[in-house]
Symmetry: C2
Subunit: 308 residues, 2 copies
């Protein structure tokens, strides 16, 4: 009945035009879990951290309905660490440091009590690790959503394609969709990618919104024009968390409901970028979320039935 | 009761990844006029061409409800000529040739029979020429829409700002909005630009849609994901033509109707890019336009009243 989340739990050190942080809580699974917590009452985490990972971070995850039974703690290892610096346009960034640490030989283990999960979110990770998790589940989940990135297209396309073939929804950004398909037109790219296996493709375009495709339909969700984008780190993961969290809670996999889920994911991502790291994803109220959803609806609302 | 259009009428030679053209009909006023012709029954053109401009092009404009009484023909001059080459992403282009020719000393003259115009479209031109047209009108139009470009921000900001201060709606693209305001955030840019005079600002984002701002509201119109963008030349002018043509026809200047006008402008622009030059803007049916409008509506349609 619950959501299973696989992905990194990490430390990030971030620099944007608005300031910089020391090592703060990060990682795809962290953003996914926090975002999903506003919708689903129970999610289960599979990930790995080192002995340097503070208990207060685990407490924070638990407080957000995230079961950490499947979070491996390697006492003599160090937590995955990434440091990056964003350029003025916030759309490009340089990786300054990437220390895989305990992630280097991560062997995911799905605890028995997670076996009943109906929704699986495969956060960006080595494709073979994503596949290992899928293979450990005795019953295939109702919905498997997978996020990935260009890096795996560069270094392990073979296993990436095998994993993509097994999932229901793939989420990637526009340049990754172009790289994966070899097509510049996103319409054409979507057709090719859907032929690789998934029934749904979400193309994330950052400040330009997101597209949801199935074989016959397309839906576009705008991004909210914000006064300031403070730190884009985790926005894509936060989107995915809102998307799958909303679906896990509503248990309706129609295209109509997927469209709503894309709006909820976009709304959560719009919060994420307003502060550094996960800060804005902590302590939002249900009312905050609903108010933001209404802004998304209003942004594109037009009554055009009036024929002139 | 009619629409007055001021802007260039030109020859373009275009090269895109899909092919290239010889000198074909182009110019901001041409695209604006053809696009507007699908909505308004009468528009009046003020522009200039050389003796090399063929009568068949004038006939084409006339056939599209465009009065060419104000089109000056300089028999011993040559028509403005621009040649450009687009890069693979279609978002960037190199100007190969720019021959101003008769445009260099263009002195716009508004014929008496144009004086009753209620809608004025100032296509991209030297800001002082745009101002000269506005000053010749004995009664200020109900609505003045102005398009411009980064070039005038670089070389004549002073006169550009004077002209902007006189108009109701300014249309520019996202990088121009950033340059004009000195703000990266489009929300902040819009605030600053609206303080310069216009009551409405439209920020065109090409394949990423368009934003309409007034002091209190914002509306976003998506762009249609197309199988192929064949040639983006004139898309912004076509957008402007659809926008003001729809407003001139419906004669309703509420924000709600401006939103519709932005969708109509976007729909016309989506046709424009499907073929070279003005080709796709000739011979569309009313049904073609309405079908396209419906695609824009469907693209963002989501029923989110359902509270989970």
């Amino acid at each position: 009945m619950s959501l299973l989340i696989v992905g990194t739990v990490a430390f990030d050190a971030l620099e944007t035009p608005f300031g910089k942080t020391d090592k703060i809580l990060g990682g795809a699974a962290t953003y996914i879990g926090l975002s999903a917590s506003y919708f689903t009452k129970k999610s289960n985490l599979v990930s790995v951290v080192g002995g340097d990972f503070p208990q207060e971070n685990i407490d924070l995850l638990n407080k957000h309905n995230i079961n950490t039974k499947g979070l491996q703690i390697k006492a003599d290892g160090k937590t995955f660490f990434w440091s990056g610096k964003y350029h003025t346009d916030m759309n490009t960034r340089d990786s300054l440091v990437t220390e895989l640490n305990v992630l280097a030989d991560f062997d995911p283990i799905v605890p028995d009590e997670y076996q009943d999960c109906e929704f699986l979110m495969l956060g960006n990770l080595v494709p073979t690790v994503q596949m290992k998790v899928l293979n450990q589940l005795k019953t295939r989940p109702k919905l498997v959503v997978m996020d990935t990135m260009n890096f795996w297209m560069d270094v392990d396309m073979e296993n990436l394609l095998k994993t993509i073939a097994k999932v229901d929804v793939l989420t990637i950004n526009d340049s990754e969709a172009r790289q994966l398909s070899g097509e510049y037109s996103l319409q054409k790219a979507a057709k090719k990618i859907l032929a690789m296996g998934p029934n749904y493709l979400i193309i994330k375009k950052g400040e330009h919104g997101a597209l949801l495709f199935n074989k016959d339909q397309v839906f576009f969700a705008p991004a909210l024009p914000l006064e300031e984008v403070f730190d884009p780190t985790g926005a894509g993961d936060t989107f995915a968390g809102g998307f799958i969290g909303y679906l896990a809670e509503t248990r309706d996999l129609s295209f109509e409901n997927m469209k709503r889920a894309v709006i909820y994911g976009s709304a959560m991502a719009s919060f994420c970028v307003e502060k550094f790291g996960t800060e804005r994803l902590i302590g939002l109220s249900r009312e905050d979320v609903e108010t933001r959803i209404q802004q998304f609806v209003d942004l594109v609302q037009v009554d055009i039935s009036l024929v002139y």
